[in-house]
């Protein structure tokens, strides 16, 4: 199941003009489509996003305060 999770590289590869690359992209696009219709996988992705968001928010806030502090000191 894990190998069906769409990766950012899969999406980037859809722009590949090489014939072999196109073929590879088609397969991966199909994988993504399958993954997105899988309720169980969708649930896992949502769960992963829910878990990641608080961490991202905390880090962004710290970075923002740090940047503002540097601006104030300049």
């Amino acid at each position: 199941m894990d190998n069906q999770i769409p990766m950012l590289t899969d999406i980037i590869e859809t722009g590949d003009s090489d014939k072999q690359g196109f073929h590879r992209s088609e397969i991966k696009a199909e994988t993504i489509a399958t993954a997105l219709t899988d309720d169980n996988l969708n649930h896992r992705i949502e769960h992963a996003i829910d878990a990641a968001l608080p961490v991202i928010k905390r880090q962004l806030h710290q970075q923002l305060l740090s940047a503002l502090s540097k601006e104030d000191n300049q």
Binding site: V55, L64, L65
Partner: protein
């Protein structure tokens, strides 16, 4: 006053109140009873609705003076806030420096009894300052 005797419900309501206050651009101080409660509130505020963002931090950590929403265990946060939320059994110090003070109590005697004592103090403070004292029963 919230129903039940659930300490977690008390914290969850504090987070909702913080969310509401922040949406009105109000600064908030959450007076926590100990470090564990401070950290629990910190996590809960970051876990509020996915699209929301409540900029906050813990007192005595880096940039604490810049935090619009601050969590701490000091009865006197050292500066005034638009909203001071008391989650301890203690009376805040120089509470009149803040625009508003909120006490969130549930029905358990260990929460209710000291809360009633503080109510008496607030009543005196409000009489002296010509301020309003409100009481809300929440489901």
């Amino acid at each position: 006053m919230i129903s039940g005797i659930d300490n977690l419900a008390r914290l969850q309501f504090a987070c909702k109140l913080t969310n509401k206050a922040w949406s009105l651009n109000n600064s908030v101080y959450l007076f926590a009873k100990d470090q564990q409660q401070s950290e629990q509130l910190d996590d809960m505020l970051w876990e509020q609705e996915a699209s929301g963002f409540l900029p906050h931090g813990l007192k005595n950590q880096e940039f604490d003076q810049q935090q619009p929403i601050l969590i701490g265990q000091d009865a006197n946060p050292g500066k005034s806030f638009d909203l001071f939320i008391n989650l301890t059994d203690n009376m805040p110090v120089e509470v009149e420096n803040n625009q508003r003070v909120a006490e969130i109590l549930h029905q358990a005697p260990d929460c209710l009894t000291p809360g009633r004592e503080r109510y008496k103090h607030y009543k005196v403070i409000c009489q002296n300052n010509d301020s309003e004292l409100n009481y809300h029963e929440l489901g």
